[in-house]
Symmetry: C2
Subunit: 133 residues, 2 copies
DNA sequence: CTTGCATCTGTAGTTACTACAGGTTGTACC
DNA sequence: GGTACAACCTGTAGTAACTACAGATGCAAG
């Protein structure tokens, strides 16, 4: 059994964050000592690792909630898990392509600027203009 | 002179957002009608376009505040503008590379899953494991 | 003058945490 | 058994950049 501090060290998750996950119902309420300190078992450590790992992969807390529901469901619905993952993958891909466009535009306007003490900075100019991405 | 609704239509910026920008001091307080309705002139439209365009390019409101300070400063410090832009460009590039890694991992774990009604879903398995990105 | 849309202020909600303040518990040491 | 001190507790407020109301007015057309 671990205290919250031990769990924190094992998972690299801040104590406040662990309590936060409990508050929003992502982690279930652990048993307590007489004095009220939380005590965690292996199952709960596993759950928190799952959350951390999913967060690292960019899943939202809501998506993680969905994944837990699927994991805990009687029928192991692998297809649904895959659907959530692929939806998320699409979101990530979309984000990458958006950022690439941004990168291109920023590079373009930045390269036009020579960095001198010119009154008419091409970067500023282009920011005052309507979009032409 | 435009009402807030007109400004909203011209810039594609929600009315609430315009008021929000005013509240946080990003847009200056416009004159009002007798009854208290906001009236905007061309200068303010320009400012809002600047904000929208910068937001589209992913600048934070804080970065935009900095850009305004530079624009309004007596000395037109083009170099500083370029610095802000290139810093932002670096952030964007970093985000892209992070997302690419994510995409790779998600693709990897997703492809391992056949989508059947298997109890041991490889996606779930890998989420219960510590990172190996 | 009335209808009805536009606008007003102020507050609360969103996401995923983080950062306190002010109080209590657990434990190591004497 | 007392005491020092770290670890823990609860509850609230703050972060970014808005969005979404509620409930009250303003304005313009018929």
């Amino acid at each position: 059994m671990d205290t919250i501090g031990g769990l924190s060290r094992k998972t690299g998750c801040h104590i406040e964050t662990i309590r936060y996950y409990e508050r929003i119902g992502l982690l279930s309420k652990p048993p307590r000592t007489e004095g009220g300190h939380r005590l965690y078992n292996k199952e709960q450590i596993k759950r928190l690792v799952f959350i951390r790992r999913s967060r690292e992969l960019g899943f939202s807390l809501d998506e993680i909630r969905t994944l837990f529901r699927l994991v805990d469901g009687e029928r192991s619905t692998c297809q649904e898990v895959k659907t959530v993952t692929e939806q998320h993958l699409q979101d990530v891909s979309k984000k990458i392509s958006d950022l690439r466009k941004l990168q291109k535009t920023l590079r373009a306007i930045s390269s036009q600027c020579e960095g001198g003490l010119v009154p008419d900075c091409p970067i500023i100019e282009s920011l005052f203009e309507e979009k032409r991405l």
